[in-house]
Symmetry: C2
């Protein structure tokens, strides 16, 4: 398996044909998977916000005031308004906003980003990253993963994850397959789209030298069942239930 | 960047020279990172347990009884005893045992594994995976990551993670570096050892066809600061604090 960045991808704008920009730069093969940072997908989809055009509602003002009281940092209620509008629910309200986005991804501030947005204040995640991946997959004719970079419980640091995918299953299922000793495997469902997103992050990098599109060549899914589930439901997620019952000590 | 499995690694036993087995099969280069599944490291270190030689203590019996009451499944108190002996603390006692291992990794059942252990009932994680990685790194002269596969909050499925590493930092630090628009980056610390472990999992696989050692060739760390921190401290981990305050509804 080999990974390389799509070379010399230009800064994209709303309406740009991202698939065409990639095809012009790489001869894709049938065994390729293309991983694309959500930032560039969002830019082509015009998912930017000028903070001066946002009016904070009552809930956003209350959320920002509480955050300021707890963290001591000044919080812009208009930013909280944008985060709330991108959130299905808040998993945490303090000491930072941890959102479930409308498409099921858990991310600080619903993934609303203040960096890397020429000419706008805020960059939102794509509205429906799996729909974005599907459009790109249809144009590129290989599996496509839309990626985000975020932190996680228990471990320091951030890593690449998938937030949308098309043309391949989210996971491969090893359940019922024997291990080397003939016993049933304890490892069950492997989130291959997340592992591919993590691998792509090693090559794409961040910042002004960052390459937002990475080709993974020669990944073998193998002869396994697949699953399309990536985001846990609330009922299935003990951590969310525990966080719901908990309040950050102010 | 390229990834390939170390070919034809035999089933290993206690005392085997894992580094020699790898060197015999691959001409390693200076830009290689070797990712090795903790299972094979544990086997060479003799980290197996025969359940008949375990006596369950009072706490293990109580933990197993509570689990059985809640889940309805019969639980062997001797298995709980082994998990407790491998745990610095229990993050969750129900509906399953979620442990902080003695070296800081959060894993169900302290990573104690019932599959893939010829001639023994249980396979434990290495006592100190970073020490194991250091020994392998000294013999192989390239960075080494000892990997585990486990699930996570918020997302279905399992993915590869690092539990020990040597010869490279755990993370690369992008803080203070500018983005394409000259603003400071919001992405901060990237857990490269976890991303490498995830990438290796795509190639190594599980089960009886699994290849437990994978070479990552040509990963460029780049000109960044590094960090050796991987596991969060309790004080830094809101999720652990929330789980501590929570009780699974019996």
């Amino acid at each position: 398996m080999e990974l390389f960045a799509v070379p010399d991808l230009p800064e994209v704008r709303e309406g740009d044909d991202l698939a065409a920009l990639i095809r012009e730069r790489v001869d894709l093969r049938a065994d390729d998977v293309v991983c694309i940072a959500s930032t560039v997908v969002s830019k082509t989809e015009g998912r930017t916000v000028d903070i001066d055009e946002v009016t904070a509602g009552e809930r956003a003002i209350a959320v920002a005031e509480r955050l300021e009281r707890i963290t001591g940092e000044q919080k812009d209620p208009r930013f909280a308004e944008v985060v709330l509008s991108e959130s299905e629910s808040l998993v945490l309200e303090a000491p930072f906003l941890l959102s479930e986005t409308r498409f099921g991804h858990i991310a600080p501030n619903a993934g609303v980003d203040r960096s890397n947005v020429p000419g706008a204040d805020l960059l939102l995640l794509p509205t429906d990253p799996t729909a974005s991946a599907r459009r790109l997959h249809e144009a590129l004719e290989v599996p496509v993963i839309v990626t985000d970079t975020c932190g996680r419980p228990f471990r320091h640091g951030q890593r690449g994850v998938a937030i949308g995918w098309a043309g391949m299953p989210a996971s491969r299922d090893w359940r019922g397959e024997p291990d080397r000793d003939g016993r049933e495997l304890s490892v069950t469902v492997e989130s291959v789209v997340d592992e591919l997103a993590a691998a792509a992050n090693l090559v794409g990098g961040e910042g002004d030298g960052g390459e937002p599109a990475v080709v993974v060549r020669g990944f073998e899914f193998g002869d396994h069942a697949g699953s399309e589930e990536l985001f846990r439901d609330y009922e299935d997620d003990l951590i969310r239930q525990a966080l719901d019952a908990w309040e950050f000590p102010a």
